[in-house]
């Protein structure tokens, strides 16, 4: 070892994990102080992917900002759209008027997004710990979901499908059949992943008792979603602060008390099954009807009308250029995203653009708890913990 790198009279070495590193899921720079392979202290450094999305929002109409939310957590774009759109609707006071079909479509998309995001989590988590095959199995199933998204909105990564007032368009023919096909097939696939990992001695050794965080710490750090449910906090926004049609649906919230990587793993695995149950119920119960709310001042008129009626064209022009005038006030809405609670705080002064928009990014908050989790562990434990926290840097750095 080079003399310059080892501080005099100290055994500790500082290792920079990332930002270019195969396992840091994007651009996390993780500065670790090591004694041999044991971690003395660590410090996650973020901001390499900062694009100033919150600031950009102040220069955009509400509708213009919607595609930007796709770029937050790009593995669950649908869920981001949903959270943002619900926040704006809350500001506009039209939350209750969303037609039921649109609500069901939103739930379907959100749960499909959750499964897709969890599949990528499982894939990369397993790959980081060395189980390569799980990676490809998960992407095989994710492909189904992405294909369905492509059917519905034409895109495969950034959807911009859920719009203020409803969804962009109705589900295409055959979508629900494919959905039913997927839900039937998916239980078996989850069983396959369980077979490969859940009882695997090596997997248990790498994840059990690793990255422990207590219930109190989990609450104090403010981490949310599957990570806290792995520490015994029974809290899920879908059930505890219900939105859309979730109260009508029958699903369970998996909670494990161990607080380690394995508990978080089990939570997410169980969540995929529960999401699949929700999808099954939605595919059965989805009603017919409109997919856009009938509020002409907030919602764009149908394209045919805009192209044929002079006054409609003018109104459309104003709505596109200046945006609709939102009532002044402030509003916060948090939705249960795959990563945790994604919240949008909007402060409106009555203009067509938000005065300030703040995003509560679950990835960012989850990372803050990382030093606590890896303290006293080995280098290999960093990798397990990174996998179990499941962060996406588009969202963390915003």
């Amino acid at each position: 070892m080079n003399e310059a790198y080892v501080t005099k009279n100290e055994r500790e070495v500082i290792l920079n994990v990332g930002p270019q590193h195969p396992a840091t899921h994007g651009v996390l720079r993780y500065v670790v102080k090591l004694d041999g392979e044991r971690i003395v202290s660590s410090d996650p450094q973020v901001g390499f992917l900062h694009r100033g999305i919150e600031k950009l929002a102040e220069y955009m109409t509400y509708n213009q900002f919607n595609p930007y939310t796709d770029r937050l957590d790009y593995l669950a774009s649908m869920n981001n759209n949903l959270a943002y759109v619900m926040a704006v609707e809350k500001l506009l006071g039209i939350s209750d008027k969303i037609p039921p079909r649109a609500q069901y479509i939103r739930v379907i998309m959100a749960e499909l997004g959750r499964i897709a995001s969890h599949l990528v989590w499982l894939a990369t988590h397993a790959l980081d710990i060395g189980a390569m095959t799980v990676f490809l199995y998960c992407f095989r199933e994710r492909e189904y979901i992405i294909d369905m998204f492509e059917m519905a909105c034409g895109n495969r990564l950034t959807y911009n499908y859920i719009r203020i007032g409803g969804v962009a368009r109705d589900l295409p023919d055959g979508f629900l059949d494919r959905l039913k096909e997927f839900t039937k097939l998916f239980y078996g696939k989850v069983k396959e992943y369980h077979q490969l990992l859940s009882k695997n001695r090596i997997w248990l050794k790498r994840t059990k008792g690793v990255g422990y965080i207590s219930k109190e710490d989990a609450i104090n750090y403010g981490i949310a979603g599957p990570c806290t449910r792995g520490s015994g906090v029974d809290w899920d926004l879908r059930r505890d602060m219900p939105y859309l049609v979730y109260p009508e649906l029958n699903f369970e919230i998996p909670v494990y008390d161990e607080g380690d990587v394995y508990a978080r793993y089990l939570v997410r695995m169980e969540e995929m099954v529960q999401s699949n149950r929700i999808l099954e119920q939605c595919a059965e119960n989805i009603p017919d009807g409109d997919v856009m709310v009938d509020e002409p001042q907030y919602v764009w008129e149908p394209k045919e009308r805009v192209m044929t009626h002079n006054y409609a064209l003018m109104k459309h022009f104003v709505k596109v250029v200046k945006g609709f005038k939102a009532p002044p006030g402030e509003v916060y809405f948090g939705a249960e995203n795959p990563k945790g609670e994604l919240g949008f705080y909007i402060y409106s002064t009555g203009e067509g653009k938000p005065y300030r928009l703040k995003i509560r990014a679950p990835s960012f908050i989850n990372i803050s708890a990382m030093p606590k989790m890896v303290e006293g562990g080995l280098i290999a434990d960093i990798i397990s913990v990174i996998g179990s926290l499941d962060f996406v840097f588009g969202e963390c750095d915003r």
Binding site: N2, I129, L196, R206, A380
Partner: protein, 330 residues
């Protein structure tokens, strides 16, 4: 004449092993591809058969980057050692059963043979990991490379003892250190049936010796980027892989000779049996690669020192006792 034959054999071994290494990568990619519901290499040549050649040519033309702070002579030496000692071990491995010629002489399909083949192979296996250690030290302060080598050092002390102890049981039973003698002793029943524990321990140790999943700690990609190879590029990095694949061949052949009776077996000719066994072990490597996650390096040491070592010592005591009192099973 003897010398000439030996030189020709040596050249053949080097050529055959080089081609073997190239096609071992193809085989592995195909097998793991199908395990993962992909198809593996398909574009270059028929079913991707020319892919390994393309890869080799590519690695020749890669820029050879040497870090400024690197210890230059060691940096050159490390990959050479990492590739040379597995080859040195491979020259004692026969490619086919010995041929009894009409004039009473025996023709061996290995470059050399002796009464202490096993000892020689073990010694060369031990030296092979030396290149990995050297790579980490020579990389000039690259922390990933250094940690990789550190892990390799921990791994050597863990598996080396197990490897030797596991081999000791069959050696005791065969009263021989030569490959031929050991195979001869298994004419009736393979040693794997007498020594199942030693066999399992040997398989674990041989995977650790070749640093493959689930014990691929020195180069654990998500943790240490490429471990000891982080700073190496082009042909130098290729040499590390070369060494590793030859090592896989050597330990697979060793396992099939010592525990599965080498070229003995019913119905089929000896050489076929021999290669079936070797290929089965190589397939096992790929299978594990596709199935298992990776151990942490302290866990490998736990397995080696707390579980396998006491078990192997008991096993040897039992084997010695059984041989001494002449129990009927032996």
């Amino acid at each position: 004449m003897e010398v000439l034959i030996a030189v020709i054999k040596l050249i053949i071994v080097v050529v055959v092993l080089s081609v073997y290494v190239m096609y071992a990568t193809w085989y592995e990619r195909k097998v793991i591809g199908h395990m993962q519901q992909r198809i593996g290499p398909k574009r270059v040549g028929w079913h991707g058969l020319l892919q390994p050649i393309a890869d080799t040519i590519k690695s020749f033309w890669k820029e050879d980057v040497i870090p400024d702070r690197a210890d230059k002579p060691l940096f050159w030496l490390a990959p050479v050692i990492a590739a040379a000692f597995p080859f040195a071990a491979a020259v004692a491995i026969p490619f086919a059963p010995p041929l009894h010629l009409a004039n009473g002489k025996v023709f061996y399909f290995s470059v050399f043979h002796s009464k202490i083949d096993i000892l020689y192979i073990l010694a060369m296996l031990g030296l092979a990991s030396f290149g990995v250690l050297m790579a980490g030290v020579a990389s000039g302060g690259s922390k990933y490379a250094f940690t990789g080598s550190q892990r390799e050092a921990a791994q050597i002390v863990s598996y080396e003892a197990i490897l030797a102890l596991a081999l000791l049981n069959p050696i005791l039973m065969a009263h021989s250190l030569s490959i031929e003698g050991i195979v001869e002793a298994q004419r009736h029943l393979w040693f794997v049936f007498y020594q199942p524990f030693a066999f399992v321990a040997f398989v674990i140790a041989m995977i650790a010796a070749t640093a493959r999943v689930p014990f691929d700690l020195p180069e654990a990609e998500p943790e240490l980027v490429a471990g000891h190879m982080t700073e190496f590029s082009g042909l130098k990095m290729g040499l590390f892989f070369f060494g590793q694949y030859v090592l896989i061949f050597v330990v697979s052949a060793l396992a099939s000779i010592v525990f599965l009776g080498g070229w003995t077996g019913p119905v089929l000719p000896g050489v076929v049996w021999y290669w079936i066994k070797i290929l089965a072990f190589i397939f096992m490597y790929t299978w594990f690669w596709g199935t298992f996650p990776r151990y942490r390096y302290d866990q490998l040491m736990d397995i080696a020192w707390k579980a396998l070592l006491p078990l192997m010592i008991l096993n040897i005591l039992w084997t010695g006792f059984a041989l001494a009192v002449g129990l009927p099973v032996f």
